[in-house]
Amino acid sequence: MRALPLRDILAHKGAAFQERYGVQVPLAFSDLETEYRLIRDKVGITDFSYMQKFRISADAGLDFLDNLFVGNVAKTRFCRVLHTFLSDPDGNIIADCYVANNDEDFIILCESIVDDQALREVFNKNGAAQAGLQDLTDTHVVISIDGYKAWSVVKELFGTDVLGLPYLSIETYPFEGKNISLLRAGKTSEFGYMIMAPKELGARLIEVLLDKAQKYEGGICGIKVHDALRLEGRFFNIFAEGARVRDPLTLGLQWMIDFDKEAFIGRDPILRKRQKGLANKIIGIKADVSASGFIPGAELFSEGKKVAVVEACCLSHVLDSRLGLAVFPVGIAYAGLKFNLGKFGGPTVESISMPPIVPKSLSVKLDEL
Protein backbone atom coordinates (compact mmCIF):
# COMPACT_ATOMS: atom_id res chain seq x y z
CA MET A 1 0.00 0.00 0.00
CA ARG A 2 1.30 3.48 -0.87
CA ALA A 3 1.73 5.87 2.05
CA LEU A 4 1.58 9.58 1.28
CA PRO A 5 4.74 11.69 1.71
CA LEU A 6 2.98 13.86 4.33
CA ARG A 7 1.51 10.91 6.21
CA ASP A 8 3.34 11.55 9.50
CA ILE A 9 2.50 15.25 9.46
CA LEU A 10 -1.14 14.50 8.77
CA ALA A 11 -1.21 11.82 11.48
CA HIS A 12 0.22 14.36 13.93
CA LYS A 13 -2.65 16.69 13.02
CA GLY A 14 -5.16 13.99 13.87
CA ALA A 15 -5.89 12.32 10.54
CA ALA A 16 -7.88 9.11 10.45
CA PHE A 17 -6.62 7.04 7.54
CA GLN A 18 -8.26 4.54 5.23
CA GLU A 19 -7.09 2.55 2.24
CA ARG A 20 -8.54 3.63 -1.11
CA TYR A 21 -7.47 1.61 -4.14
CA GLY A 22 -4.01 0.83 -2.76
CA VAL A 23 -3.31 4.22 -1.20
CA GLN A 24 -3.51 5.16 2.46
CA VAL A 25 -5.55 8.38 2.37
CA PRO A 26 -6.36 10.91 5.12
CA LEU A 27 -10.09 10.37 5.52
CA ALA A 28 -10.96 13.01 8.11
CA PHE A 29 -9.47 15.19 10.83
CA SER A 30 -12.63 16.09 12.71
CA ASP A 31 -16.35 15.52 12.32
CA LEU A 32 -17.63 15.79 8.77
CA GLU A 33 -19.90 18.76 9.38
CA THR A 34 -16.98 20.84 10.71
CA GLU A 35 -14.90 20.08 7.61
CA TYR A 36 -17.93 20.65 5.39
CA ARG A 37 -18.50 24.10 6.91
CA LEU A 38 -14.81 24.95 6.51
CA ILE A 39 -15.04 24.54 2.75
CA ARG A 40 -18.55 25.89 2.21
CA ASP A 41 -17.97 28.98 4.39
CA LYS A 42 -14.19 29.48 4.68
CA VAL A 43 -11.30 27.46 3.26
CA GLY A 44 -10.15 23.86 3.62
CA ILE A 45 -6.70 22.45 2.89
CA THR A 46 -6.71 18.80 1.78
CA ASP A 47 -3.85 16.48 0.87
CA PHE A 48 -4.75 15.08 -2.56
CA SER A 49 -1.39 13.34 -2.98
CA TYR A 50 -3.27 10.07 -3.39
CA MET A 51 -3.70 11.11 -7.02
CA GLN A 52 -1.44 9.45 -9.57
CA LYS A 53 0.74 12.11 -11.18
CA PHE A 54 2.66 12.11 -14.43
CA ARG A 55 4.58 14.46 -16.66
CA ILE A 56 5.42 14.13 -20.34
CA SER A 57 7.04 16.50 -22.82
CA ALA A 58 4.56 18.21 -25.12
CA ASP A 59 6.42 17.21 -28.29
CA ALA A 60 6.81 13.53 -27.51
CA GLY A 61 3.66 13.10 -25.47
CA LEU A 62 0.81 14.56 -27.46
CA ASP A 63 0.02 11.53 -29.61
CA PHE A 64 0.51 9.19 -26.67
CA LEU A 65 -1.97 11.14 -24.52
CA ASP A 66 -4.46 11.59 -27.33
CA ASN A 67 -4.51 7.84 -27.95
CA LEU A 68 -5.20 7.17 -24.27
CA PHE A 69 -7.80 9.66 -23.11
CA VAL A 70 -11.37 10.06 -24.36
CA GLY A 71 -11.03 13.85 -24.53
CA ASN A 72 -9.13 15.80 -27.16
CA VAL A 73 -5.70 16.57 -25.70
CA ALA A 74 -4.52 18.10 -28.99
CA LYS A 75 -7.17 20.82 -28.73
CA THR A 76 -6.16 21.78 -25.18
CA ARG A 77 -4.62 25.23 -25.35
CA PHE A 78 -1.49 26.36 -23.48
CA CYS A 79 -2.07 26.88 -19.78
CA ARG A 80 -5.45 25.12 -19.92
CA VAL A 81 -6.54 21.89 -18.30
CA LEU A 82 -8.62 19.21 -19.97
CA HIS A 83 -10.97 17.33 -17.65
CA THR A 84 -11.33 13.89 -19.15
CA PHE A 85 -11.23 10.21 -18.25
CA LEU A 86 -9.42 6.99 -19.01
CA SER A 87 -11.46 4.00 -20.08
CA ASP A 88 -10.58 0.33 -20.08
CA PRO A 89 -10.78 -1.58 -23.40
CA ASP A 90 -14.42 -2.49 -22.63
CA GLY A 91 -15.44 1.15 -22.43
CA ASN A 92 -15.72 1.36 -18.64
CA ILE A 93 -14.19 4.24 -16.73
CA ILE A 94 -11.05 3.56 -14.67
CA ALA A 95 -9.65 7.03 -13.98
CA ASP A 96 -10.94 10.59 -13.78
CA CYS A 97 -8.12 12.82 -15.02
CA TYR A 98 -6.89 16.35 -15.46
CA VAL A 99 -4.52 16.74 -18.41
CA ALA A 100 -2.81 20.13 -18.11
CA ASN A 101 -1.00 21.75 -21.02
CA ASN A 102 1.84 23.40 -19.15
CA ASP A 103 3.54 24.85 -22.24
CA GLU A 104 6.56 22.58 -22.71
CA ASP A 105 5.03 19.59 -21.02
CA PHE A 106 1.74 18.04 -20.01
CA ILE A 107 0.94 17.25 -16.40
CA ILE A 108 -1.54 14.46 -15.78
CA LEU A 109 -3.34 14.04 -12.46
CA CYS A 110 -5.51 10.96 -12.01
CA GLU A 111 -8.07 9.77 -9.52
CA SER A 112 -8.43 6.12 -10.30
CA ILE A 113 -10.27 3.03 -9.18
CA VAL A 114 -7.31 0.83 -9.99
CA ASP A 115 -4.08 0.82 -7.98
CA ASP A 116 -0.84 2.52 -9.05
CA GLN A 117 0.58 -0.61 -10.62
CA ALA A 118 -2.51 -1.32 -12.72
CA LEU A 119 -2.61 2.27 -13.98
CA ARG A 120 1.10 2.16 -14.86
CA GLU A 121 0.45 -1.04 -16.80
CA VAL A 122 -2.25 0.70 -18.86
CA PHE A 123 0.18 3.49 -19.70
CA ASN A 124 3.09 1.12 -20.36
CA LYS A 125 1.00 -1.09 -22.61
CA ASN A 126 0.22 1.98 -24.70
CA GLY A 127 3.80 3.19 -25.19
CA ALA A 128 4.59 5.22 -22.05
CA ALA A 129 8.29 4.37 -22.12
CA GLN A 130 8.76 5.30 -25.77
CA ALA A 131 6.88 8.57 -25.24
CA GLY A 132 8.97 9.39 -22.16
CA LEU A 133 6.22 9.47 -19.56
CA GLN A 134 7.61 10.38 -16.13
CA ASP A 135 5.80 8.96 -13.12
CA LEU A 136 5.67 11.61 -10.36
CA THR A 137 3.28 9.69 -8.12
CA ASP A 138 5.89 8.98 -5.46
CA THR A 139 7.98 12.11 -5.90
CA HIS A 140 5.36 14.86 -5.75
CA VAL A 141 2.54 16.01 -3.51
CA VAL A 142 -0.78 17.56 -4.51
CA ILE A 143 -2.47 19.89 -2.03
CA SER A 144 -5.99 21.12 -2.68
CA ILE A 145 -7.24 24.50 -1.46
CA ASP A 146 -11.01 24.71 -1.61
CA GLY A 147 -13.64 27.04 -0.30
CA TYR A 148 -15.36 30.36 -0.42
CA LYS A 149 -12.09 31.99 0.71
CA ALA A 150 -9.67 29.74 -1.20
CA TRP A 151 -8.75 32.55 -3.55
CA SER A 152 -7.57 34.69 -0.62
CA VAL A 153 -5.08 32.02 0.44
CA VAL A 154 -3.56 31.52 -3.01
CA LYS A 155 -3.53 35.27 -3.60
CA GLU A 156 -1.46 35.77 -0.45
CA LEU A 157 0.93 33.07 -1.57
CA PHE A 158 1.35 33.92 -5.25
CA GLY A 159 0.00 37.45 -5.72
CA THR A 160 -3.06 39.03 -7.29
CA ASP A 161 -2.15 37.38 -10.59
CA VAL A 162 -3.98 34.23 -9.50
CA LEU A 163 -7.33 36.02 -9.50
CA GLY A 164 -7.21 36.11 -13.28
CA LEU A 165 -6.84 32.35 -13.66
CA PRO A 166 -9.91 30.85 -15.30
CA TYR A 167 -11.38 27.56 -14.12
CA LEU A 168 -9.35 24.64 -15.52
CA SER A 169 -6.10 26.47 -16.07
CA ILE A 170 -2.50 25.94 -14.91
CA GLU A 171 0.35 28.31 -14.07
CA THR A 172 3.86 27.88 -12.69
CA TYR A 173 4.88 29.84 -9.61
CA PRO A 174 8.06 29.92 -7.50
CA PHE A 175 7.91 28.52 -3.99
CA GLU A 176 10.97 28.24 -1.74
CA GLY A 177 13.27 28.59 -4.75
CA LYS A 178 11.60 25.91 -6.84
CA ASN A 179 8.83 25.90 -9.43
CA ILE A 180 5.48 24.48 -8.48
CA SER A 181 2.33 24.06 -10.54
CA LEU A 182 -0.94 25.75 -9.57
CA LEU A 183 -4.14 24.47 -11.14
CA ARG A 184 -7.41 26.30 -10.84
CA ALA A 185 -9.65 23.28 -10.54
CA GLY A 186 -11.66 21.70 -7.74
CA LYS A 187 -14.93 19.82 -7.47
CA THR A 188 -16.71 21.42 -4.55
CA SER A 189 -18.49 24.24 -6.47
CA GLU A 190 -16.65 26.72 -4.23
CA PHE A 191 -13.33 28.22 -5.38
CA GLY A 192 -10.72 25.53 -5.87
CA TYR A 193 -7.00 25.32 -6.53
CA MET A 194 -4.54 22.44 -6.56
CA ILE A 195 -0.80 22.75 -6.07
CA MET A 196 1.56 20.07 -7.32
CA ALA A 197 5.05 20.31 -5.82
CA PRO A 198 8.10 18.09 -5.29
CA LYS A 199 7.63 16.10 -2.08
CA GLU A 200 10.63 17.80 -0.41
CA LEU A 201 8.53 20.97 -0.39
CA GLY A 202 5.39 19.22 0.85
CA ALA A 203 5.85 19.77 4.59
CA ARG A 204 6.68 23.45 4.17
CA LEU A 205 3.89 23.96 1.65
CA ILE A 206 1.13 22.51 3.81
CA GLU A 207 2.33 24.49 6.84
CA VAL A 208 2.34 27.75 4.85
CA LEU A 209 -1.10 26.99 3.40
CA LEU A 210 -2.56 26.12 6.80
CA ASP A 211 -1.03 29.22 8.32
CA LYS A 212 -2.63 31.41 5.66
CA ALA A 213 -5.93 29.49 5.80
CA GLN A 214 -6.14 30.08 9.55
CA LYS A 215 -6.26 33.82 8.91
CA TYR A 216 -9.62 33.14 7.26
CA GLU A 217 -10.71 30.68 9.97
CA GLY A 218 -9.90 27.83 7.62
CA GLY A 219 -8.25 24.53 8.42
CA ILE A 220 -7.30 21.05 7.38
CA CYS A 221 -9.76 18.59 5.83
CA GLY A 222 -9.80 14.93 4.91
CA ILE A 223 -10.96 13.54 1.60
CA LYS A 224 -14.22 12.06 2.89
CA VAL A 225 -15.94 15.44 3.07
CA HIS A 226 -15.17 15.92 -0.62
CA ASP A 227 -17.55 13.07 -1.44
CA ALA A 228 -20.45 15.13 -0.08
CA LEU A 229 -19.22 18.38 -1.61
CA ARG A 230 -18.88 16.78 -5.04
CA LEU A 231 -22.34 15.33 -4.87
CA GLU A 232 -23.89 18.65 -3.82
CA GLY A 233 -22.12 20.40 -6.69
CA ARG A 234 -22.97 17.53 -9.08
CA PHE A 235 -19.34 16.94 -9.88
CA PHE A 236 -18.57 13.44 -11.06
CA ASN A 237 -17.04 11.32 -8.27
CA ILE A 238 -15.17 8.28 -9.50
CA PHE A 239 -14.91 6.96 -5.93
CA ALA A 240 -18.71 6.96 -5.49
CA GLU A 241 -21.07 6.62 -8.46
CA GLY A 242 -18.12 6.15 -10.83
CA ALA A 243 -16.89 3.01 -9.08
CA ARG A 244 -20.38 1.54 -8.90
CA VAL A 245 -21.73 2.35 -12.36
CA ARG A 246 -18.56 2.44 -14.53
CA ASP A 247 -20.44 3.10 -17.81
CA PRO A 248 -19.58 6.69 -18.84
CA LEU A 249 -22.76 7.18 -20.87
CA THR A 250 -25.07 6.12 -18.04
CA LEU A 251 -23.01 8.45 -15.82
CA GLY A 252 -23.65 11.38 -18.19
CA LEU A 253 -19.98 11.91 -19.03
CA GLN A 254 -20.50 12.36 -22.78
CA TRP A 255 -19.21 15.93 -22.41
CA MET A 256 -15.76 14.55 -21.59
CA ILE A 257 -15.62 12.50 -24.79
CA ASP A 258 -14.57 13.62 -28.24
CA PHE A 259 -16.67 11.22 -30.30
CA ASP A 260 -14.93 12.34 -33.51
CA LYS A 261 -11.48 11.25 -32.35
CA GLU A 262 -10.10 8.29 -34.26
CA ALA A 263 -8.48 6.55 -31.33
CA PHE A 264 -8.73 6.27 -27.56
CA ILE A 265 -8.90 3.30 -25.23
CA GLY A 266 -12.44 1.90 -25.18
CA ARG A 267 -13.54 3.91 -28.23
CA ASP A 268 -15.40 1.16 -30.10
CA PRO A 269 -17.48 -0.14 -27.17
CA ILE A 270 -18.35 3.44 -26.15
CA LEU A 271 -19.40 4.37 -29.70
CA ARG A 272 -21.44 1.17 -30.00
CA LYS A 273 -23.28 1.95 -26.76
CA ARG A 274 -23.93 5.51 -27.95
CA GLN A 275 -25.29 4.29 -31.27
CA LYS A 276 -27.53 1.74 -29.58
CA GLY A 277 -29.04 4.48 -27.45
CA LEU A 278 -29.03 5.06 -23.73
CA ALA A 279 -31.11 2.66 -21.63
CA ASN A 280 -30.36 4.09 -18.19
CA LYS A 281 -29.30 7.40 -16.80
CA ILE A 282 -28.06 8.66 -13.44
CA ILE A 283 -29.97 11.58 -11.94
CA GLY A 284 -30.22 13.45 -8.65
CA ILE A 285 -32.54 12.43 -5.82
CA LYS A 286 -33.44 13.91 -2.47
CA ALA A 287 -35.06 12.56 0.69
CA ASP A 288 -35.84 13.70 4.19
CA VAL A 289 -33.01 13.39 6.73
CA SER A 290 -35.11 10.80 8.55
CA ALA A 291 -35.20 8.44 5.52
CA SER A 292 -33.30 5.44 6.80
CA GLY A 293 -31.77 3.05 4.31
CA PHE A 294 -30.83 5.85 1.90
CA ILE A 295 -27.54 4.23 0.97
CA PRO A 296 -25.80 3.02 -2.20
CA GLY A 297 -27.52 -0.13 -3.40
CA ALA A 298 -30.92 0.84 -2.01
CA GLU A 299 -33.80 0.35 -4.41
CA LEU A 300 -36.43 2.88 -5.44
CA PHE A 301 -39.99 1.87 -6.23
CA SER A 302 -42.80 3.36 -8.29
CA GLU A 303 -46.29 1.90 -7.97
CA GLY A 304 -44.77 -1.06 -6.17
CA LYS A 305 -42.30 -1.81 -8.95
CA LYS A 306 -38.54 -1.47 -8.57
CA VAL A 307 -37.37 1.25 -10.96
CA ALA A 308 -33.97 2.52 -9.80
CA VAL A 309 -30.94 1.91 -7.60
CA VAL A 310 -29.19 4.50 -5.42
CA GLU A 311 -25.53 4.81 -6.47
CA ALA A 312 -24.24 7.65 -4.28
CA CYS A 313 -25.51 9.58 -1.29
CA CYS A 314 -24.62 12.20 1.28
CA LEU A 315 -26.11 14.38 3.95
CA SER A 316 -26.47 17.93 2.68
CA HIS A 317 -26.04 20.38 5.53
CA VAL A 318 -27.03 23.29 3.30
CA LEU A 319 -30.33 21.65 2.32
CA ASP A 320 -30.82 19.70 5.54
CA SER A 321 -31.70 16.70 3.39
CA ARG A 322 -30.28 13.49 2.13
CA LEU A 323 -28.99 13.84 -1.41
CA GLY A 324 -28.11 11.12 -3.82
CA LEU A 325 -27.74 9.88 -7.34
CA ALA A 326 -29.70 6.94 -8.72
CA VAL A 327 -29.76 5.13 -12.04
CA PHE A 328 -33.20 5.17 -13.69
CA PRO A 329 -34.49 3.93 -17.06
CA VAL A 330 -34.22 6.94 -19.41
CA GLY A 331 -38.01 7.15 -19.83
CA ILE A 332 -38.47 8.23 -16.22
CA ALA A 333 -35.07 9.87 -15.57
CA TYR A 334 -36.52 13.32 -14.98
CA ALA A 335 -36.63 15.74 -12.07
CA GLY A 336 -39.87 16.32 -10.20
CA LEU A 337 -41.05 12.72 -9.73
CA LYS A 338 -41.73 10.87 -6.49
CA PHE A 339 -40.65 7.35 -5.58
CA ASN A 340 -40.52 5.12 -2.52
CA LEU A 341 -37.31 4.04 -0.86
CA GLY A 342 -36.77 0.35 -0.23
CA LYS A 343 -40.35 -0.84 -0.73
CA PHE A 344 -43.85 0.18 -1.77
CA GLY A 345 -44.96 2.74 0.81
CA GLY A 346 -41.37 3.39 1.96
CA PRO A 347 -39.99 6.90 2.62
CA THR A 348 -40.53 9.36 -0.23
CA VAL A 349 -37.61 10.10 -2.52
CA GLU A 350 -37.91 12.88 -5.08
CA SER A 351 -35.93 13.16 -8.29
CA ILE A 352 -34.41 16.64 -8.51
CA SER A 353 -32.54 19.07 -10.73
CA MET A 354 -28.84 19.21 -10.04
CA PRO A 355 -26.93 20.99 -8.70
CA PRO A 356 -29.44 21.66 -5.91
CA ILE A 357 -27.39 24.25 -4.01
CA VAL A 358 -26.21 27.73 -4.88
CA PRO A 359 -22.63 27.99 -3.60
CA LYS A 360 -21.49 31.15 -1.83
CA SER A 361 -18.61 31.44 -4.30
CA LEU A 362 -21.08 32.10 -7.11
CA SER A 363 -21.66 35.53 -5.61
CA VAL A 364 -17.97 36.51 -5.88
CA LYS A 365 -16.57 37.82 -9.16
CA LEU A 366 -12.80 37.38 -8.89
CA ASP A 367 -12.07 39.48 -11.98
CA GLU A 368 -13.81 42.43 -10.35
CA LEU A 369 -11.85 42.28 -7.09
Binding site: Q254, I283, L337, P355
Partner: protein, 98 residues
Amino acid sequence: MDSAMKAIIDKRVAVINPIKEGLIKHLNLPYKPEDLHEDISLFGAGLGLDSLDALEVVLCVENCFNIKIPDNDPSILRSINTLADYVLEQKQKQAGVQ
Protein backbone atom coordinates in the same frame (compact mmCIF):
# COMPACT_ATOMS: atom_id res chain seq x y z
CA MET B 1 -46.48 4.83 -15.55
CA ASP B 2 -49.44 6.67 -14.04
CA SER B 3 -50.93 9.72 -15.75
CA ALA B 4 -49.64 12.20 -13.15
CA MET B 5 -46.06 11.03 -13.67
CA LYS B 6 -46.51 11.10 -17.44
CA ALA B 7 -47.84 14.68 -17.30
CA ILE B 8 -44.82 15.87 -15.28
CA ILE B 9 -42.43 14.17 -17.69
CA ASP B 10 -44.19 15.53 -20.80
CA LYS B 11 -44.13 19.06 -19.44
CA ARG B 12 -40.43 18.80 -18.66
CA VAL B 13 -39.50 17.19 -21.98
CA ALA B 14 -41.30 20.02 -23.80
CA VAL B 15 -38.86 22.46 -22.20
CA ILE B 16 -35.68 20.39 -22.07
CA ASN B 17 -35.63 19.29 -25.71
CA PRO B 18 -35.78 22.80 -27.22
CA ILE B 19 -33.10 23.95 -24.74
CA LYS B 20 -30.78 21.15 -25.82
CA GLU B 21 -31.45 21.72 -29.50
CA GLY B 22 -30.91 25.46 -29.05
CA LEU B 23 -27.62 24.95 -27.22
CA ILE B 24 -26.31 22.59 -29.89
CA LYS B 25 -27.40 24.85 -32.75
CA HIS B 26 -26.42 28.27 -31.38
CA LEU B 27 -23.17 27.20 -29.73
CA ASN B 28 -22.22 24.72 -32.43
CA LEU B 29 -21.69 21.93 -29.91
CA PRO B 30 -20.41 18.60 -31.29
CA TYR B 31 -23.14 16.57 -29.56
CA LYS B 32 -26.52 15.02 -30.18
CA PRO B 33 -29.35 16.10 -27.82
CA GLU B 34 -29.27 12.73 -26.07
CA ASP B 35 -25.55 13.26 -25.30
CA LEU B 36 -26.37 16.26 -23.13
CA HIS B 37 -27.24 15.18 -19.63
CA GLU B 38 -29.73 17.60 -18.09
CA ASP B 39 -27.51 18.10 -15.03
CA ILE B 40 -24.41 18.95 -17.03
CA SER B 41 -22.78 22.14 -15.86
CA LEU B 42 -23.03 24.82 -18.53
CA PHE B 43 -20.06 26.89 -17.35
CA GLY B 44 -16.67 25.99 -15.90
CA ALA B 45 -16.70 22.21 -15.70
CA GLY B 46 -19.00 20.42 -18.13
CA LEU B 47 -19.70 22.30 -21.33
CA GLY B 48 -17.22 25.01 -20.32
CA LEU B 49 -19.19 27.87 -21.86
CA ASP B 50 -17.96 31.46 -21.47
CA SER B 51 -19.73 34.78 -20.87
CA LEU B 52 -20.41 35.32 -24.59
CA ASP B 53 -21.95 31.87 -24.77
CA ALA B 54 -24.07 32.79 -21.75
CA LEU B 55 -25.57 35.63 -23.74
CA GLU B 56 -26.41 33.22 -26.57
CA VAL B 57 -28.03 30.79 -24.12
CA VAL B 58 -30.12 33.53 -22.54
CA LEU B 59 -31.30 34.91 -25.89
CA CYS B 60 -32.06 31.44 -27.19
CA VAL B 61 -34.17 30.49 -24.16
CA GLU B 62 -35.91 33.87 -23.94
CA ASN B 63 -36.90 33.73 -27.61
CA CYS B 64 -37.90 30.09 -27.50
CA PHE B 65 -40.17 30.36 -24.43
CA ASN B 66 -41.11 34.04 -24.51
CA ILE B 67 -39.80 34.68 -21.01
CA LYS B 68 -37.20 37.03 -19.49
CA ILE B 69 -34.13 35.66 -17.68
CA PRO B 70 -32.80 38.11 -15.07
CA ASP B 71 -29.15 39.01 -15.63
CA ASN B 72 -28.38 39.21 -11.91
CA ASP B 73 -29.07 35.58 -11.05
CA PRO B 74 -26.31 33.26 -12.32
CA SER B 75 -27.83 30.33 -10.42
CA ILE B 76 -30.45 29.87 -13.16
CA LEU B 77 -27.79 29.03 -15.73
CA ARG B 78 -25.98 26.33 -13.77
CA SER B 79 -27.35 23.39 -15.76
CA ILE B 80 -29.98 22.49 -18.34
CA ASN B 81 -32.17 21.28 -15.49
CA THR B 82 -31.91 24.51 -13.47
CA LEU B 83 -32.69 26.44 -16.62
CA ALA B 84 -35.68 24.18 -17.29
CA ASP B 85 -36.90 24.72 -13.69
CA TYR B 86 -36.86 28.46 -14.24
CA VAL B 87 -38.69 28.21 -17.58
CA LEU B 88 -41.37 25.95 -16.09
CA GLU B 89 -41.80 28.31 -13.14
CA GLN B 90 -42.18 31.32 -15.45
CA LYS B 91 -44.62 29.51 -17.73
CA GLN B 92 -46.69 28.56 -14.72
CA LYS B 93 -46.74 32.20 -13.59
CA GLN B 94 -47.78 33.31 -17.08
CA ALA B 95 -50.56 30.70 -17.11
CA GLY B 96 -51.73 31.93 -13.69
CA VAL B 97 -51.89 35.52 -14.89
CA GLN B 98 -53.92 34.53 -17.95
